[in-house]
């Protein structure tokens, strides 16, 4: 955060259509929420396509997309902006949320729950009918641009939970792993693999998800399978590709790792 360069919303416009394969009616629902400027929360396990979905929707709606990856150091000032010092004096630098609110971009707060508590409070006035962002340090009240929309993502499997006061401000689209045929198509497209190999990867993914609650918190994500597929495309033998992209990242537990490794061995 706090780059000294001026940021322009135009720089966040998407150049080409990001690939997204709809699982159900989520695109239509998002468009309706956007038409009413209702903030949207994307909820689902890691690597199931939340970020890709918002990129795709920003492209469809022809809005710039400003993404902030939240972590436990993300503070309110990181989102709204701060004073900087340069050769001529002090200068205010808008944060990504302020930039989006002024310019009418979609602001996407990835993993919102990770951010510090003070960030939740700053965005509250933006998410109700007021649609405004108070910048107390600058003594300014930013009225959100008519095209501005706030979108956040959230992985409910983690150990942190969103407060009700935050969660009730959003419409929530729930994401899961795509249906098998769709997931095969996604892996095949993203990794540039034939359907046969993609189907083997997805079958492996489904097998790891059976261990959810039996040693794993979450099974292999679509993203992981795409990573494995790209390694295979690079010429890595499938077993080695799945070992480093799927089995090893999923668990540190010796027994679960051994079981995953044996499953990978059996799958190819």
């Amino acid at each position: 955060m706090g780059s000294l360069m001026d940021i322009h919303a135009d720089a966040h416009a998407l150049a080409s259509e990001p690939y997204y394969h709809p699982a159900a009616d989520e695109c239509m629902l998002f468009e309706a929420a956007y038409a009413q400027r209702l903030p949207v929360l994307l909820k689902g396990p890691t690597g199931c396509g939340k970020t890709r979905f918002i990129e795709h929707m920003a492209w469809r709606l022809k809005r710039p997309l400003i993404t902030v990856a939240c972590n436990d150091d993300t503070s309110a000032a990181d989102l709204t902006g701060r004073w900087l010092l340069d050769a001529t004096g002090t200068r205010w630098q808008d944060g990504p949320l302020t930039l989006a609110a002024r310019s009418g971009a979609i602001c996407y707060l990835d993993e919102l729950v990770e951010a510090r508590a003070d960030t939740m409070v700053v965005m509250h006035p933006l998410t109700d009918t007021r649609r405004m962002l108070p910048l107390d340090k600058r003594n300014e009240l930013v009225q959100a641009h008519p095209d501005f929309l706030l979108v956040a993502s959230y992985n409910p499997g983690g150990h942190k939970e969103l407060k009700a006061s935050t969660r009730q401000r959003f419409c929530t689209l729930t994401f899961g792993y795509p249906a098998t045929e769709i997931e095969v198509a996604i892996v095949s497209h993203e990794a540039g693999l034939d359907m046969e190999t993609a189907a083997r990867l997805v079958a492996l993914g489904v097998r790891t998800r059976r261990l959810q609650g039996h040693g794993l918190d979450e099974g292999a994500s679509t993203r992981m399978l795409v990573h494995a597929g790209r390694l295979i495309r690079e010429g890595v033998p499938p077993i080695a590709a799945c070992r480093i992209a799927v089995a090893a990242p999923l668990s540190d537990d010796a027994e679960v790792s051994a079981a995953l490794q044996a499953t990978v061995d059996a799958s190819f």
Partner: protein, 496 residues
């Protein structure tokens, strides 16, 4: 028993058969029963044990998934029965390999084939099994070739011919007839299914009587439950929390199985002679630190800004560390000391109590204790909470603890994890002080509570809570090592 086998089968086929050790130590062959998959305690001598157990478990699982039919042995000669078994083994493996081609690589190394000029029936059966698992393998023997042609539709071995049980039985009869024509000897009593990872195929035939004793033997394994309700009225004033418990035989959680009754420990007389008063340790309040003159921060540090502006205006290089921000003062460690006060600690409780005081603690800590009386009455007492000072009444409560009842470890660990997980801290650990192994009145399987505790330790690790154990009993260290791993230490009573 390799504990990785259970998740292995779940991920392969989404099945969770009970995996059981065969009690007879000399047994070398797996078998299936209505209770689950029975595996020998040791793999045969001449094979890599890890691969062998995977191969055996994967083959048994293939039967569970694909062998739905029970063949009628009436009118089948022993040779034909053995052939039905061999063809069914090959069929389920072929179907399994269609979904999971890597299984062929797992099974194939166990198919060692002896090529002799005058092969016995068993030799030919092994050679047939080899050919059916690996269609690219060529065997010149006409009987093996015939078996192969009956099994597959095509030359390449990509289409299965024996899809129906009747077709399989018919093919076995044809091959059995040829064995008779070749005047080969077959001793059904000494016959063992080959290769060694395959089960004895008794599961393919209607249940016979000699397996019944196995069922009886396993059915006596307890699941608890009957002794429920005994201690419920005592703890009516307490906060009641229910936790699942891990059943190692199923293996699954039993949801809401244990009830933990959480109460503050009763006040005790502070002038008790047993009490030793250590130095009172005041706990520092949680603080945030304001860092001035930083490269990065949320706000200007005004003095630094003014100084920097003056330097710049004068044409000098300025120190651009002009921000301030707040940060937590120190990485904090939070400890929960959990004292086992079951009846078996009667002789060593003073040692555990003084250990609780003597152990070095940085950051906030709590002292809790537990004992249990069946799964519905796990008594959990809070001697000192995280934010309480360690003062005279608190030490009196600690010294006032007394030994009673049993040790349902898993439920207590889950409750302690639940309590400490709510604390904000860089490092959170539960330190169990115990005299030995868990035990409870409604559990008769000595490994059940250990397996459940092990599961509770893993659950805690997933919420970033570290569970460690200080154990007074040398004898118990070996079994507790499996529960706590590197977190287990031996505590010598004499050092306290």
């Amino acid at each position: 028993m390799n504990p990785a086998l259970s998740p292995y089968l779940r991920s392969l086929w989404n099945i969770a058969p009970t995996l059981l050790d065969i009690t007879e130590p000399r047994a070398t062959r797996p078998f299936l029963s209505p209770l689950g998959v029975h595996l020998p305690q040791r793999a045969p001598a001449d094979v890599p044990p890890g691969r062998w157990f995977h191969a055996a478990a994967a083959h048994a699982a293939a039967h569970l998934v694909f062998s739905q039919h029970r063949f009628d042995p009436a009118g089948l000669r022993p040779v034909t029965q053995a052939l039905v078994g061999a063809l069914e083994d090959a069929r389920v493996e072929w179907l399994a390999c269609r979904e999971l081609p890597g299984l062929r690589r797992l099974w194939l190394p166990f198919h060692a084939v002896r090529l002799t000029d005058t092969p016995s029936f068993e030799d030919l059966l092994c050679r047939l099994a080899r050919c059916l698992l690996d269609p690219s393998h060529h065997d010149p023997h006409p009987w093996v070739l015939k078996g192969r042609q009956l099994f597959f539709v095509d030359e390449a071995g990509e289409m299965l011919a024996l899809r129906q049980p009747e077709a399989l039985r018919h093919a076995a009869s044809l091959l059995g007839h040829d064995v008779g024509q070749m005047r080969m000897q077959f001793n059904a009593r000494l016959y063992e299914v080959m290769p060694s990872y395959r089960d004895d195929n008794s599961c393919l035939w209607p249940a016979d009587k000699h397996r019944a004793n196995v069922e009886h033997e396993i059915a006596s394994t307890p699941q608890g439950g009957a002794a429920a309700g005994a201690g419920q009225s005592i703890a009516s004033a307490a906060q009641r929390h229910t936790y699942p418990e891990w059943d190692r035989l199923v293996p699954m959680y039993r949801p809401g199985w244990c009830a933990v009754h959480d109460t503050p420990a009763p006040a005790a007389d502070a002038s008790s002679p047993a009490m030793r008063m250590p130095r009172v340790v005041p706990l520092p309040p949680r603080q945030r630190m304001r860092l001035m003159a930083q490269w990065e921060g949320d706000e200007f540090d005004l003095e630094a800004v003014v100084a920097a502006r003056i330097e710049l205006r004068s044409g000098h290089a300025a120190d651009l560390r002009v921000y301030r921000r707040t940060e937590p003062r120190h990485p904090t460690e939070t400890t929960l000391l959990l004292i086992d006060t079951s009846a078996s600690t009667a002789g060593v409780l003073p040692a555990l109590q003084s250990a609780a005081l003597a152990i070095e603690k940085t950051g906030p800590f709590a002292i809790h204790s537990f004992c249990s009386d069946g799964r519905h009455a796990v008594h959990y007492e809070r001697v000192k909470d995280f934010d309480d000072p360690l003062d005279a009444p608190c030490i009196a409560r600690l010294m006032g603890l007394h030994s009673r009842l049993s040790t349902r470890l898993g439920a207590a660990l889950r409750h302690a994890t639940h309590l400490i997980a709510a604390r904000r801290s860089t490092l959170r650990r539960v330190l169990l002080l115990t005299d030995g192994k868990p035990h409870d009145v409604d559990v008769f399987d000595p490994r059940y509570l250990l397996a459940d505790a092990r599961q509770a330790v893993r659950e805690a690790a997933r919420c970033h809570v570290r569970i460690e154990c200080l154990c007074l009993d040398v004898q118990a260290l070996r079994s507790l090592r499996r529960v706590f791993g590197a977190g287990l230490r031996h505590l010598r009573a004499s050092t306290l």
